[in-house]
Amino acid sequence: MRTLTRFFSINLLFLATLVCASAAQAPRDTIIEAILAKDKARKIELIGSLVGESDEAIKPLLTAWKEDGLFVYQTPEGSVSILVMLAGEKDANDAQAALRIDNGQPLLDAAGKPVHLVGGDLTAVEHDAELRGAMKNVLDLLALATPDVVKRIQAIQAVGFSQDVEKIPALEKRLALETDSGARKSLREALAVTRLKASDADKLTAFNELKDLHSLSSYDLIRTAMRDAEKAGKPELAEAGAHALKAIDLHRTKINFFGTLFRGLSLGSILLIVAIGLAITFGLMGVINMAHGEMIAVGAYTTYLVENIFGTGITIPFFGFSLPIPGIHATGWFYQTYFMVALPLSFLTAALVGIALERSIIRFLYRRPLESLLATWGVSLLLQQALKLMFGSNNVQVSSPSYLSGNWTIDDITFGWNRIFVIGFAGLIVFGVWLILTKTSLGLLIRSVMQNRNMASCMGVRTERVNMLTFGLGSGLAGLAGAFISQIGNVGPSLGQNYIVDCFMTVVVGGVGNLAGTIYSALGIGLVDQSLQQILLNPVLGKILVLVAIILFLQWKPSGLFVTRSRNLDD
């Protein structure tokens, strides 16, 4: 309380001295007053008063406020508290440059040097949903003119769906100036939606406008408007509304169709990525690797480690005692590149684990496929527990780099970047594997050994080594899959269990020992699964039907899409 009163004095002082006193209060001061105001109503009123102001200080300050960026700073002497905003790059110990809110100038200490502060140590200026609502309103209207198109469009929509008839002129003015097509579209939409609240003539035009725009988002509003029209006994108006709705429904089915295709493709790609490693270890080598899922987990955890090393470092409770790993405190784009580093590393780690596994256990079981199933299951239990003891039984966070966490929306169909990325990478991986198997000497060796181990060894091929590398390759691919999973799913000790059955299904349906088959089956299963979900609107039923379909499919083609005579599987 005492500090607060002191604020007032201080700020008044500033008003007197620093700010050249103008009759109307400058936005900065309005904001300061809003911050200091005790009752919420007053705060909201003050913030509201900023509407229409075009001071460039408003945006940064309100945005900072919304996002916990404004702080109360106690000078070392503790005598005065000053409102500051932290800005700029964080330095080694997370400190940022402090700017005074009242004048936007850097905060200077006694010695006149700019002060750097750590957000964590300061008390942030409070705010809640209602306040944010008020700020949003201010920012929206500001934003109608923001240079960034995406932001602008968001703003336009926000304004539009408030259906505030007073805003029509503002929107129209903007529409006159607007050059960007996307923005124009949403402006028209916003206007139309707002007009649904205006005169009947306006409503009619609005209906037709929205029909042409087949705007999904205004569906409900149109429906309500239409019902009102019905109630008010204006059939022709209601009919126009109905037409608009029909148009939108049509549009929606189109979206769902293409959306489903895309989703099926992306799910298929994921299946492909997780299964292709198995297609090698199981398909080519005939090792029923139940630990394949854990290889995926290993890859995912590697990504997690890399991310933390790029960040602030991490301490692993390594079987009881702690093992600290320092971080390199990367920031900005450099930090974002962690994923690109993680990819090869997760491949390597998983490959190494796989090789270790092959040397220690698998190699004794090449002629006993069913027992390899059992042994590797045991291994999967061991690995799961090991991961638990190393990283705890909780899931761990892996945050997606910015270039994987956005999306493109083309004609209302959303294409998530992570999905597109996965699809693209699936392609790359397949291509890579194809190269390795067909264009490299290792590939030649692999294929020869897989076709006839004894023959190959007679011809002086070091089958031991080839087996090792092949299994390494398979596991490595699983690890790679893990890196992607970490971007779309959760990373935990039992991560692998969620995928193992699907993996085997994919490989078996594709035809053991046939990579091409795996590709087709993965994409096939993906598409079927997504279509079923779209039709049944029930993920569980979809999954079950897929399994049934697979079982029946194998009745019809007992050895999968593509039959390959494989040493291990037929006697």
Binding site: F364, L370, L382, V501, M505, V540, I544
Partner: protein, 363 residues
């Protein structure tokens, strides 16, 4: 090798003694408070697992069919029994309504049609045999007709049980969803909570196990047993000797399903719960572990395996909860690599064990 028959005589006598112990002495000790109700109940559970393990072994150890779907048949038996037990709760449930609780809070006011007949034990019992038997018959027919074998068979059965578990997890399956069936009160008019009822169930389980054991032992001596093992060792040769291997495999598959199912039916009233997690693929795999650790291709093996591993589990989940999985997994790797014959083969192996460790096991 040579003195097969005598070995089996010894084994039968041993089995006789052990079953005498389980069927008569153990319950007597319990009745006189020398064995706690907890222990006998625990052992009842182990013996049910033993039945499951035997059914796995019958397929895998004797016929070379590694089925990862036995847990499904086990649970189906359990569910059939469970439905009967749910009906027997009457209106003693949380809601004191005449229908099972989970139906009440799924908004049902009266019993769904397919639930009605389960108030009769004979009906439930016949379904315990019919349903899994039928499923096994259909699935087996399809699978064996199209000559699905080896790994394909394993993975297909795994898919089957996985799909089934997904189905039972759904609440609108009206089989209790994830919660499954619990809170049983009576079986055939006896209070399930009374020690005597539990003892009774234990004795029944022991007797069933003995019956299954002996009949399978006899079966393995018939020509059928020969064909069965011949299929395991070289199916094509059996085909070319004029045997319709598919029929034999189908028969075995159904028998195994029935054994598992009965095991499950006895299991549920003793543990007091059945839910879909009992039919997930890794439960089947666990049963395979018991069988492998005990010693597959023998009949005592699975029993020993089931009992020893589960008592180990009971112990570990209290003494070393964090390391239970490590123990199980490790045990498994070791057995597959170093002791393919399982525990029962230890005496035979003891001498040559050291050589086996140093030299690669031959295929």
């Amino acid at each position: 090798m040579s003195s097969l028959s005598t070995r089996h005589k010894v084994e039968l006598i041993a089995a006789g003694f052990i079953s005498l112990f389980f069927i008569v002495i153990f319950p007597l000790l319990n009745a006189h408070g020398m064995v706690s109700d907890f222990t006998i109940n625990l052992w009842g559970k182990y013996l049910c697992y033993a039945l499951l393990a035997i059914s796995v072994d019958l397929l895998w150890g004797y016929t070379g069919l590694l089925s990862l779907g036995q847990a499904l048949f086990f649970s189906l038996g359990g569910y059939m029994m469970g439905m009967y037990l749910m009906r027997m709760i009457g209106d003693l449930g949380q809601y004191h309504k005449p229908i099972p609780d989970f139906l009440v809070f799924l908004g049902w006011t009266e019993l769904p049609k397919f639930w009605k007949p389960f108030s009769s034990f004979p009906f439930a019992f016949s379904l315990i045999l019919l349903l899994p038997g039928l499923l096994a018959l259909v699935f087996g027919f399809l699978a064996f007709r199209s000559r699905i074998k080896g790994v394909y068979f394993s993975i297909l059965t795994q898919a089957l049980t996985y799909g089934a578990s997904l189905m039972f997890f759904r609440n609108d399956m009206l089989m209790g969803g994830n919660n499954g069936f619990t809170d049983f009160k009576f079986i055939l008019g006896h209070d399930l909570r009374s020690a005597t009822t539990q003892r009774g169930l234990f004795i029944v389980t022991a007797i069933v196990l003995l019956l299954v054991y002996t009949s399978l032992r006899l079966l393995s001596h018939t020509k059928f047993g020969l064909v069965q093992r011949a299929i395991r060792d070289g199916e094509n040769r059996v085909l070319f000797s004029g045997y319709a291997t598919a029929h034999f495999k189908l028969f075995i598959f159904v028998i195994a399903a029935l054994i598992a199912s009965i095991g499950g039916a006895l299991y549920v009233p003793q543990v007091g719960i059945i839910n879909p997690s009992e039919m997930t693929p890794d439960k089947s795999l666990e049963a395979v572990v018991w069988c492998a650790v005990g010693g597959r291709g023998t009949l005592v093996g699975p029993i020993i395996g089931a009992i020893s591993i589960n008592s180990l589990k009971s112990w570990a989940s209290r003494a070393a909860p964090d390391y239970w999985l490590v123990i199980l997994g490790g045990l498994f790797v070791v057995v597959v690599l170093l002791l393919p014959g399982g525990i029962v083969s230890i005496p035979a192996r003891l001498k040559s064990l050291w050589q086996r460790v140093t030299r690669q096991p031959s295929a």
